[in-house]
Structures are given as structure tokens and as C-alpha cells.
Symmetry: C2
């Protein structure tokens, strides 16, 4: 029979029964109390430690629940046997293992949004309205498809601004394009095992399908978009395209090819994933209408995102499924949970319905249009043969297509050390193009950043 030696820390705020429980647990873990050993009776502990019966009983019953001790009828409490094991020391003083935060000097991220684009006050109002008036609905889990109010606004926006055509019931909201691609991969699971992707293209989309076990077929991009002959020659029945502003080359698919693509899909029973990520941002002329609107979206899965349009720290994307796929989704939707905060979904719905989003789009077109012009002028001021400038008419990035004389990896490293992020499109070594996002460069830096890039490319020449 053993006795407990414990000093209760009265001022620590930790109830005595927990202090006693922790003490006994530690004794067992450290081997001071071993298998089959009998614990002192409740009464004797009360007397020895001058604590109440309830305190001891609570401590013992917690140890029973966790399986450290067992209660034997009419006999008392005994330590339970368990296998050899080295416990982590769990003293109360020990804080979590914080270690050192690894501080790496990150290059300036020019893919951020421009400071002047987002009206934080308007967004704050939209969020506060939800937190004041929609509290009842916020108490429950959201619709797996996304909130109807938001889907309604998206359907309206897509129709009015992109020439698309859909019912809010065909829209699925998700926390980023990758989450939605996971859902597409699931919808085609057991039916298709490969998918065509524009190349060069949106690698982060491709990876998701690979994660889901799909074979990805890279189909080259021509000046007017994806190579249709190569697509037709492939066996794929799903293809990813960004027809209104190909990522990253910026090419626009003309109506002739759009129709050929739609006819291919219709004939083959295939599906086109149309990524319309930033085609609102055309600075000269009018945004090119979406593929989705051309045939009621019968073979088109339209994908859009608010990250580029609104602000990158919000993670709200959506897709429009053709009715046939929507039926498939409805059969399995009970298996999934919605991934976007209901608060932010409803805030965005309000922000759109009262016109803030439309004003925002007008504002960013102006701001980014100016930045785009400054950038193009700067590249004219520093002519170079080291790379060609591609895709400069719209969006938030341009592409530098490098001459083979230039050591492209060296350019990336040097640029990084000077604070400029140039990103390769994928991991393939024959890749000669770098994506240069400029949305976050302050207007008065543009000239010097462009100058820097040209100088870097000069010093990375092999000959």
C-alpha cells in the first residue's frame, strides 16, 4: 500500500481533483505505481491530504475512464497493466515545443492585389450585415452546393458579364479551384481515367487530377488556343481549356475554334472544362464572351474564381455543371461538406446584390489597365532579344518567352535575390517561359522592375 505525496497548488486555478489525477497518472507513467498495485482507499486519501471525498472520487473516476486504473467490487482500485512504452514527459510546466520560426526573406510577391483595388470598408459592411442579421442561419451547416443567395448572384453575374447561361441550381461553390477539380475528378471516377490539359497551362489544376489517379495528357497550345488535331487524336473525353485568356500565354480562342471544340465535345459525348479565371480583365475592347453561353453549356463545365477578381485572401470559387453532371452530383452530394465559410458566402452575395462587386470590377479594370500600359511602355524602353513578351493585352501577368541563349534557371534565381518573383509554368525542363505577375507592383516601381528583369536576362546569357 502506497501513499500520495502531493502539494496542491491552490492558486493555480486547476481544480484539486485534476491535480490529484495528474499526479497519480504521472506516478503510473513513470513506473512508480505498477501493474496490479492497489491504490489507497478514497477515505484514507481524504484524511491524509485533507481534501473532500468528492475530490478523490472524481480523480479516481477520471483515471478509470481513461483506463489507468480499474475498480474491483468490494476491494478497491488497482493499476491496470499495459505494454512497454516510453511516455512523453507531460509535466504541467512544459509548454508546447515552439522552436524557432524559420524566417526566410521572401521575395516581394507581385502576384498580390494592388493596394487601391479592394474596398475593405465595403467588405466589412457586407460581413457585419451577415453577422448582425443572419445569425440564425449561421448556426447550422451550409448547403453542400453553396448558399442559394450567392449562387443566384453568380448566375446573374455570369449571364450579364460573361454571356453565360445557367440556373443557380447548376452552380457549386468551393474553396478554390482545386477543391472543385477534386469534385470533377470524383464525378468522372470509374468513367474516365484521363484528362487533356492545355500545355503550357494551369499545372495546379493538373496535379489534382493526377492525385486522383488520372492520367493527364498535355496538349500543346497554338496561337489561337489548344491544338484541336492533337486533342482529337487523343483518347481523352475531358479537356481543360482557358479559351478567353489562355493561362499563361494569353491567347484567345476564336469563334471558329470554339465551335469546332464544342462540336468535338458534342459528337464524342465529351466535356470541356472552361476556366474563365480572369477574362473580365481585358484592357482593350470588350471581354470575350464565355464558351459556356454558346450552347446552353451542354458539354461545358464553367469554372470561375473570386481570388483574382476580388482579393486573393478570400477563397471562393464556383463552377457551373451541365444538367447531366448535376444529376450525378445530386446523387452523391450527401457524401460531401461545403468548404467555404457561410459567413463569407453570404457577405459576397450581399456585396454583389447591392452593386459593390460591379463597382469593384470597374475600379480594378481602370487600375490594372493603367498598370498594364505602364508595363508595356517600360518594356518598350528596355528592348531586348533575350525574351519575347507574350499575352500582354489582358489579365494580371505577362509571359516572358526566353531565347535558348539564356539560362532560365539563373534568371529565376537572380530575380528572386533582387526581390522579383518569376515563376515557371511547370516542372518540365524544356519549358522556356516564365510568368511575370505585375498586379502588386506599385505604379512607380514598374519602370525599375522591368529594367532589372532585362538586365538580369542579359547577365544570364550563355554566350
Amino acid at each position: 500500500m502506497i501513499g500520495f505525496v502531493i502539494n496542491f497548488e491552490g492558486s493555480s486555478g486547476v481544480p484539486k481533483y485534476i491535480q490529484l489525477y495528474e499526479y497519480i497518472k504521472k506516478e503510473i507513467m513513470e513506473g512508480n505505481l505498477t501493474e496490479g498495485e492497489k491504490l489507497p482507499s478514497v477515505r484514507s486519501v481524504c484524511e491524509a491530504l485533507k481534501i473532500s471525498k468528492a475530490t478523490v472520487e472524481n480523480a479516481y473516476s477520471q483515471l478509470v475512464v481513461e483506463g489507468y486504473i480499474e475498480s474491483r467490487a468490494k476491494s478497491g482500485y488497482y493499476v491496470i497493466a499495459f505494454d512497454d512504452f516510453t511516455f512523453t514527459q507531460l509535466s504541467g510546466q512544459e509548454f508546447f515545443h515552439e522552436g524557432q520560426k524559420t524566417l526566410i526573406e521572401e521575395p516581394v510577391k507581385f502576384d498580390r492585389a494592388d493596394e487601391g483595388t479592394f474596398n475593405f470598408n465595403e467588405w466589412k459592411k457586407a460581413v457585419n450585415r451577415v453577422l448582425e442579421y443572419d445569425t440564425q442561419t449561421l448556426l447550422s451547416y451550409g448547403d453542400v452546393q453553396g448558399e442559394y443567395a450567392l449562387r443566384y448572384e453568380i448566375a446573374k453575374f455570369i449571364h450579364q458579364s460573361r454571356g453565360g447561361r445557367c440556373h443557380p441550381d447548376q452552380i457549386i461553390v468551393g474553396a478554390g479551384i482545386q477543391v472543385l477539380f477534386g469534385l470533377i475528378a470524383t464525378l468522372f471516377r470509374g468513367v474516365e481515367d484521363q484528362i487533356g490539359f492545355e500545355y503550357p497551362g494551369f499545372s495546379k489544376g493538373m496535379y489534382i487530377f493526377e492525385d486522383y489517379g488520372y492520367q493527364t495528357v498535355k496538349i500543346p497550345v497554338e496561337v489561337d488556343g489548344i491544338d484541336l488535331k492533337r486533342l482529337e487524336a487523343s483518347q481523352t473525353k475531358i479537356v481543360y481549356v482557358s479559351p478567353s485568356h489562355q493561362y499563361p500565354t494569353g491567347s484567345i480562342m476564336p469563334i471558329k475554334k470554339r465551335i469546332q471544340l464544342l462540336n468535338w465535345a458534342s459528337k464524342k459525348g465529351a466535356y470541356i472544362i472552361e476556366d474563365d479565371y480572369d477574362s473580365m480583365l481585358r484592357y482593350e475592347g470588350y471581354p470575350v464572351p464565355a464558351l459556356q453561353g454558346l450552347n446552353y453549356g451542354k458539354n461545358v463545365i464553367y469554372v470561375g474564381s473570386f481570388s483574382k477578381l476580388l482579393i486573393p485572401s478570400l477563397r471562393i470559387s464556383f463552377m457551373i455543371l451541365p444538367e447531366k453532371l448535376m444529376e450525378d452530383f445530386n446523387r452523391i452530394k450527401g457524401r460531401y461538406s461545403q468548404s467555404v465559410s457561410k459567413i463569407e458566402q453570404l457577405a459576397l452575395a450581399g456585396y454583389m446584390s447591392e452593386g459593390s462587386f460591379e463597382r469593384h470590377i470597374r475600379r480594378i479594370k481602370k487600375i490594372y489597365g493603367k498598370k498594364n500600359q505602364l508595363l508595356i511602355e517600360a518594356f518598350k524602353r528596355y528592348p531586348t532579344k533575350n525574351f519575347k513578351l507574350i499575352g500582354k493585352e489582358s489579365g494580371l501577368h505577362v509571359v516572358l518567352d526566353f531565347h535558348t541563349d539564356v539560362a532560365i534557371a539563373k534568371v529565376v534565381t537572380m530575380a528572386k535575390s533582387m526581390g522579383v518573383l518569376l515563376e515557371g509554368v511547370d516542372e518540365y525542363p524544356d519549358n522556356r517561359i516564365l510568368v511575370f505577375s505585375y498586379s502588386g507592383i506599385p505604379d512607380d516601381w514598374i519602370d525599375s522592375v522591368v529594367k532589372e528583369i532585362v538586365e538580369i536576362s542579359d547577365s544570364a546569357r550563355k554566350i
Copy 2:
């Protein structure tokens, strides 16, 4: 040579060049202008329609960009040929296809949070603080792992409240458990192709691994948690458990079994996914400490969520990876984007650091503890042999384990028609248990809801 007949709607706000562009596009789509036809010269259109040269040029150049017409040097603009295709009519008046919102009378969802639990004002303050002071960081994409400020608070919370032990660098934030499970499935891709799951258990977790092509192995749950012999007999090297409050049965895994499980993992080089979804909510006694803390989390992937603890409309979950898996993650993290809004991540970090979260936990323990007690008392008032009540000591649901005499599907249907949602755990027909979530039932309804359930179960008896 053709002429254009167009009435400009001056007051519509649509620029004239777009009206002209839409008009010509429609003429082409409807076959009134056909392949190879020459468009009237810019000059002649100016004169005929009394519009400026720039207006016509802008309209023509938009049509060139979209590939409806082409410009031939020194000759003019010609309609481009394209394949047969039936266009959707795209008149300006036509609104999106809104249809009818299908309004189905949904049963009262008792899995929502109780009204008094969440302090919307405190949350509003936390969000507003971010939208006022963190605007610079909100302009850029977030850390794929989640914001450091939030991971720091989570690490602290896990240590102080769950006995876990980790560095913030081992934490990954994601928009719901399913998103994180997708990541786990990816981390083991090509290494493991099966995973063990407690049965009955968390089906929505299982589905994700199946979507990623894994074979799921159902391992029965005993009164003290997963059947270890069956686990050892299986070939799986990843296993999902909820040891501190098994879902749905509520069983608690005793320390002896925890150690056996950890030793199994350590010997086999296997991994345990520990889902700790609501084990903070133990009403009698103290929460059972997490498995993760027992051996520095070497073979444990700890998963937690704020949906149950805070409010279901927020979608913020997290996991703690062992260092070995963290290295794997760091190798591939460039392929992924963070799925949770940076605004809400930073708001939650602030909410936690200033103590609101701790106060919230204390508050909900009190509110749900009372509800739990009322529920247990009500079930005592209406004794029945139709089902056994299981897992009633903690969490936000109880389990009804039905006698074979009761037609369980009938119970679900009848309950639904009376506004009570009873959910099966999975799709398997031998399942005799229903999950009854009570977090959202107002206190003064509990008696009548329980009475209803018992009456329903009586009328669903087969004999």
C-alpha cells in the same frame, strides 16, 4: 455588299461600339452574314449610321479578336467560315434562366449550434480588426499551410487543452476535414493503397479516401474502441480512429489500448489518424487527453476542427503531421493552394489569442452539459425496449441502437415528417444505429422531442 440596320439605344448605357459589335455578331450567328462575305467599309458605316470612325473600328476589332471576321490587307473585313452549329439565342433582353427555386420543407436540423453558444459580437470584432489592421497582408495569397499566427494559437491550444505536443510548423490548416483527408491521401499516394476505418464510423472521411482510389477496410469498434486484433490481421498501414470520443458510439479508448495501438504503429511503421473532433465536450469529469501527446505524435496524424467547437458555418479545420510526413508535405506543397480565407484565419487567431475562444469553450460546456442532462433525464422518463441509448456522456449527439424488431427506415421517415432528423451512420443495410444530434434543440423542446422519438419507435415495431 450589305448595309447595317441598327437603332442605337442611346440611353441604355451600353457603348455604341458594343451595340454595333453585338448586332454584327448576331447577324453572323443567325446566318444573315455568311462565310467570305465582305463587311461594309469603316467609312461607309460611319456615314450611314452617323457614328464616329473609332466606334466602327472598335466594333470591328473586337470581332477580329473573337474570330468572327478577319482583316485582309488593302481589301477590308470578311466573315470567317465556321462549322455548323446551333447557337443559343443571346438577345440582350434575355435574363439568365432562373426557373423555380425548389423549396422542399427541410426537417429541423438539430445538428446546428445552440443559439446562446456563439458570441457574434466578439467574432465581429475579431474580423473587423483584421479588415482594419491587416489589409496589407490580405492583398496576397496565403501560406499554403495556413497563417502562422493561427497555427501558433492552435499549437498552444492543443498543448494546453488536449495534452498534444507540436510545433506550429507541423500544422496544416484546411477548409474542412475532407480537404485535409484529400491531402493525406495524396501524401500516401503510391505508398499505401488501403486504409483502415473504425466501423461504424465517420463515413464522410472514408468516402474521400475511396475517391482517391484507396480501398477502405472497415474495422469493428468494440466497447473500448477499435478491434486491435482485426486491425493487426489487416494489411493496412494507416488507420483512422476517434479514440477520445468514438464517432458515433461514444466509446473511449483506454490507455492500455492506446499504447497497444501506438506500439502497433511504431512496429509496423504505420500511421494513426486521430480524429479529435469534439472531445473537449466531456460533461462529467475532464476531457480525455489526446493520443498525439503520448509519444510526441511520431506515428500520429492529429485532426481537429472548429466547426463543432465554434460554429458550423465557419469551415476551419487543421491537422498535425509527424515530422516525417511534414517533410513529404514540404516537398509537394508548391502544388497546392490554401483553402481557408486568410481573413477568417487571422480573425480566429486573434479570437484565440485574446481569450475569446477559451471563454467560448467554457460557455458551450455549460450550455451543452445542461442540454445533455435534460436529454438523459427525458429518455429516463420515456423508457423503451426499442433501442438502447449509447454514447451519452459527451459530445453533441447520442446514438440509438435499435432492436431488430424495429423497422429502422420507417423510424427515419416518420421522424423526418415530424421534423426530427435521425441519421444513419452509413449506407450499409445491416446498420441498426441512428445518430441523434441534439445541440440545436432548444432546452424546453427536449422533453417533447424525446417523447416523439420513443412513440415513433413504438409504431415502427414489426411485431
